[in-house]
């Protein structure tokens, strides 16, 4: 029952929001209230999974291999909790930073449908159902991306829609082939039935089709070009939620499928993933270093850090997977926060272009601190969360004697620091050039009512500050988070518990 809440609550919120189409205030209230309810229930789910082990719900009371099973092991529960944290932070931020026109066109219901799709993808135990949740999530993200209809948004949306639809088709193809091969789509059942077929050609083909499909969604090395072409186009709140959650659904699917179903390919898949991970880290960060637009730098950094997240999968050791999971926890919070900060900067100076920004350290020291915390965390400066995430991965890499990947990971984190310091130097440190053209545009962007302006900065600052505190807490309480990550990795490495939870029916 508990498993249904992370799906039912966003759905209810979205439906009620659609009923309240004409009342913007009601929609705003519902948006935040729904996100808060999701936050509470998802942490309850995490707590109960932590205490009692994996849980499953059989939708419609169908006996296990038939019907759709919702299942939460520790990884799923952690991901759902993170989605809820980001959902809440972004809903709060949206109150202040999303314009009334977008709010009037169903921004909050769409945000909640997106959250429903993300939570559904994390919780489902059925491959076809995973495809459906992907589509739910994509559909909401398509509309959110294009909502507003600015030129850049539409251009970005075309690329985003095309590549994601292509990935979905590949995924569907793989699902079809898998059904033809093993005659089932329940993940646990597939995992059992595919074992005798592990070395056959069709299994390898399916595995690589899935790697490509999820790779596009996760934005790994040769497949990431849609991300930096589209993530900087929508309003900041939308970019932030995309950056935090969407690519991570792809990473989650990779982790799930390649630790549960295709484990017999222990040689090929992890080797390929490891190579892709190195290339993703490098190309992402090299892209970031040359950019000069705030959100594009961040977009390329997302790509680069996806490389770290799949590094653990490439190593395929418990320590490596724990590192990956820790990294995901850290990265979701930090990258969302950086996007939120970019929006706060935009609200003050009316631009994302590093050349036009400047002098914010003098005028808004609080904002500078808010940027510095996630920026340093992203590049792995102790004692923030990024340091421990990287430490775990590096240690796992050294244990597995993969020297080159460790060297690349360390080099890339240095370059990440460089790209973050570029933002710092340009936006906060250098004095602002007073140029009459930008001054004019800033004046026109400042909202007319002083009251609204005050509210803007306050709510936005609060949600960003909350995420910054979370980053610091993950860093300071690294032991505690590590315990979760290690337990989740342990469950991934020994999927028997997951399989038996899914297939053995307890009391409904």
């Amino acid at each position: 029952m508990r498993l249904l809440f992370p799906i039912a609550i966003p759905l209810t919120t979205a439906v009620l929001g659609l009923f309240a189409w004409r009342w913007r205030a009601v929609q705003r209230g519902l948006g935040v209230a729904g996100a808060a309810a999701l936050l509470i229930t998802s942490f309850e789910l995490l707590k109960s999974v932590w205490q009692q082990g994996p849980q499953a719900t059989w939708v419609g009371n169908w006996p296990p291999p038939f019907g759709i099973t919702l299942i939460a092991d520790l990884l799923s529960a952690i991901m759902v909790a993170l989605a809820a944290v980001i959902g809440f932070a972004v809903a709060l931020y949206s109150l202040a930073h999303v314009d009334p026109a977008r709010e009037a066109f169903g921004y909050y219901p769409l945000l909640h449908i997106l959250l429903m799709g993300v939570c559904g993808a994390f919780l489902t135990g059925d491959l076809f159902n995973l495809y459906v949740w992907f589509e739910v999530m994509l559909m909401a993200s398509f509309v959110l991306l294009a909502l507003g209809g600015e030129r850049a948004q539409l251009e970005g949306a075309i690329k985003y829609v095309t590549l994601n639809l292509m990935a979905s088709t590949l995924f569907l193809t793989a699902v079809g082939l898998l059904y033809g091969t093993v005659g089932t789509l329940n993940m646990a059942d597939v995992a059992l039935k595919i074992r005798p077929l592990a070395s056959s050609g069709i299994t390898t083909s399916i595995a690589f089709l899935l790697l490509t499909a999820f790779g596009i969604k996760a934005a790994i090395f040769p497949l990431f070009f849609w991300l930096p072409a589209s993530y900087h186009t929508p309003p900041v709140a939308v970019s932030a939620v995309f950056a935090g959650l969407l690519t991570k659904v792809g990473v989650y699917a990779l982790l799930r499928v390649f630790t549960l179903i295709f484990i017999e390919q222990e040689r090929t898949i992890p080797t390929v993933v490891l190579a892709l991970s190195a290339l993703t880290m490098l190309t992402g960060v090299l892209g970031a270093v040359v950019q000069s637009e705030f959100r594009r730098i961040l977009s390329f950094n997302i790509v680069s850090h996806i490389g770290y997240m799949i590094l653990g999968l490439g190593l395929f050791t418990t320590a490596g997977l724990a590192g990956s999971i820790f990294y995901i926890i850290h990265h979701i919070i930090v990258i969302t926060n950086l996007f939120l900060v970019s929006g706060l900067v935009h609200a003050v100076q009316g631009s994302f272009d590093l050349g036009r920004l400047g002098g914010l350290y003098r005028t808004h020291p609080g904002l500078a601190v808010l940027f510095l915390i996630p920026a340093l965390s992203l590049s792995g400066v102790p004692p923030l969360s990024g340091f421990f995430a990287k430490l775990l991965l590096v240690r796992a890499g050294l244990h597995a004697e993969q020297w080159s990947i460790v060297a690349i990971a360390l080099g890339v984190s240095l370059l990440t620091l460089l790209s973050m310091m570029k933002i710092w130097a340009e936006v906060f440190w250098k004095p602002k050039e007073s140029d009459p053209l930008t001054e004019g545009s800033v004046a026109s962007r400042v909202p007319p009512m002083a009251e609204r302006a005050a509210m803007r900065s306050r709510l936005g600052l609060w949600s960003s500050a909350g995420l910054a505190v979370l980053t610091a807490m993950i860093g300071l309480g690294a032991d505690f988070v590590l315990a979760f990550a290690e337990a989740a990795a342990e469950q991934l490495r020994h999927p028997d518990l997951y399989i038996s939870t899914m297939l053995q029916r307890g009391h409904p």
Partner: protein, 115 residues
């Protein structure tokens, strides 16, 4: 029958991918449509083609005698068709809006958000 369908599916994937690589936005959408139809047919074919054997349990027996027509792939395809229909409808509106805003249907001109 399987051979024929295999050839059809192969051509759908091939033409779909070819259309995706063209410069016109409209052809891009056609390509996506062909691809999704190809994958639907693939699921249909790979679920084994059986004629005239509905999956109905005969009286006095507890299971369906095989071979029987598997209903599950058809349910999957139905879902996939609905989804791809919705998504393609959205994509059509999107390219229409983009055309109105940008004034071109050439993908090579839609690169202001790239590098």
């Amino acid at each position: 029958m399987e051979l024929l369908l295999a050839i059809v599916i192969g051509s759908l994937y091939a033409t779909g991918l070819y259309m995706l690589l063209r410069r016109s936005v409209v052809k891009l959408i056609i390509g996506l449509g062909l691809l999704s139809n190809g994958s639907n047919l693939l699921i249909f074919t790979i679920g084994r083609l059986v004629r005239g054997r509905p999956p109905i349990v005969p009286e006095g027996e507890s299971s369906v005698p095989s071979p029987f027509a598997d209903p599950l792939p058809q349910a999957l395809i139905l879902t996939a068709i609905v989804i791809s229909f919705g998504v393609l409808a959205f994509a059509l509106v999107l390219i229409h809006r983009a055309y109105q805003k940008v004034g071109t249907d050439d993908l090579d001109d839609l690169k202001t958000t790239d590098m």
